[in-house]
Amino acid sequence: MPYEDELRALTPAVIAVLVRRGADFASAEDAVQEALVEAVRVRPHDPRGWLITVGWRKFLDAARADTARRRREDQVSAEPLAAAGAEADDTLHLYFLCAHPSLSPASAVALTLRAVGGLSTRQIAQAYLVPEATMAQRISRAKKTIAGVRLNQPGDPATVLRVLYLVFNEGYSGEVDLAAEAIRLTRQVTALTKHEEAAGLLALMLLHHARRAARLGADGSLIPLAVQDRSRWDTRMIAEGVDILQAALARDRLGEYQAQAAIAALHADAFTADETDWVQIVEWYDELVRLTGSPIARLNRAVALGFVDGPVAGLAALADLDPALPRHTAAAAYLHERAGDLGVAARLYADAARAATNPAERDHLTREAARVNRAARE
């Protein structure tokens, strides 16, 4: 692990120590962020101990500078140090705090990346394409929102996992690899909670991350799963994802992330697209629909069904769903193409391109429309 990542990985534990010593969360977070910046330059041999010492000093300096805080500072300085065993729980509480339901998703994501991810405000702002001042305000308001939340209340792991899922799935790109960051944090949560769904989410992330090199062409164009060069998939990452998933499934407490990971694992298991076990994939989508009732899961199930019972059956399943669902038109285009209705498919691909919500999908669907249109004329 690069030294800076090693430092960042210590962030939540160090904040937790400061909070346990009596610092409020917002000040502790600021102090540790400052200490991190210095640590990159100083490169201490014992980064954990160093960050606690320097972070605590920075907290005291800030408290001292603020006359209104002086009395509280005297009080907290006298408090005994934390017992080491309680630290893992404290770190986990920080995750719960940063994903607290009173925060909007955007605020929870920003606070999580800073307070447990140890990223700088500038890096988070750059990743989400907003000015640094905007991100600083978002983080500062998030801290105010949760100021009254007591750190020793147990939280719901589902809220934390939801935030990490968002970081992984909807992260923009900047100098920080948000997908890798989400995996790092989910790994930590999985280790701290031993929760099956945390493991399920970690497996899901690894199985998708493993395909990353094959997913985009050199020009940035989207390469769909069916035609990806599978030799470019990261087999070690797939193996790790499958191991984690199997251990989670064996505990027989199924959840949506485990079900999604199982589908990703079945795709990863096929050497070629033709070898995909679509029967099992449909069964997992059934589980996913049962668990979540999600219309997106129903849509994906319809596409999968198209491989098991043929495109006409897939289209029939699709007909039961709301046409306004994201990717409904693209799915219909694909199934019509496989059914041989090239004219209809080309028109639907063009419609889907117009409805796409990101440039990569729009360009991909535009190319598909052009390709199928030409095939229809030949």
Partner: protein
């Protein structure tokens, strides 16, 4: 987490409720309007939802290439052109509902007589990034 563009039109939008040209307002009404707009942007900076804003000059030029080795052809301005953008503000909000709420607030900037203009603003979603998990 979604970005939206708020577009203010000089022309091309339906008529505002309080539709009096700005040059017929009193100086105080103009000041009140400008102050409202500045306060709106500051408030979004404070909530962490502000991305950028720019005002555009009314007159533009149409340009097209005219083949290799030849300078681009220009044309316009076309006074009859239906649509004319006055300026834009980009916001980064939790979703469509919040974007609507903010657009409504901006549209209520005071105009003639200190009454809200109730002008029509165009709200356009910005394309996002490609999600990692789609299957």
């Amino acid at each position: 987490m979604a970005k939206y563009l708020l577009l203010k039109h000089y022309r091309g939008a339906p008529a505002a409720v309080n539709d009096v040209p700005m040059d017929q307002w009193t100086p105080q009404e103009v000041e009140a309007h400008i102050g409202y707009m500045a306060a709106f942007a500051d408030r979004l900076r404070d909530t962490g939802e502000f991305v950028a804003e720019l005002a555009l000059l009314p007159e533009g030029t149409f340009v097209r290439s005219d083949g290799q080795g030849r300078p681009p052809v220009t044309d316009g301005p076309f006074p009859e052109t239906k649509d004319l953008i006055a300026g834009w503000m980009m916001i980064d909000v939790d979703g469509y509902e919040r974007a609507l709420e903010l657009a409504g607030e901006l549209s209520a900037a005071p105009g003639k007589g200190g009454e809200p203009i109730h002008e029509w603003l165009e709200l356009r979603p910005v394309m996002g990034s490609l999600p990692t998990i789609t299957d």
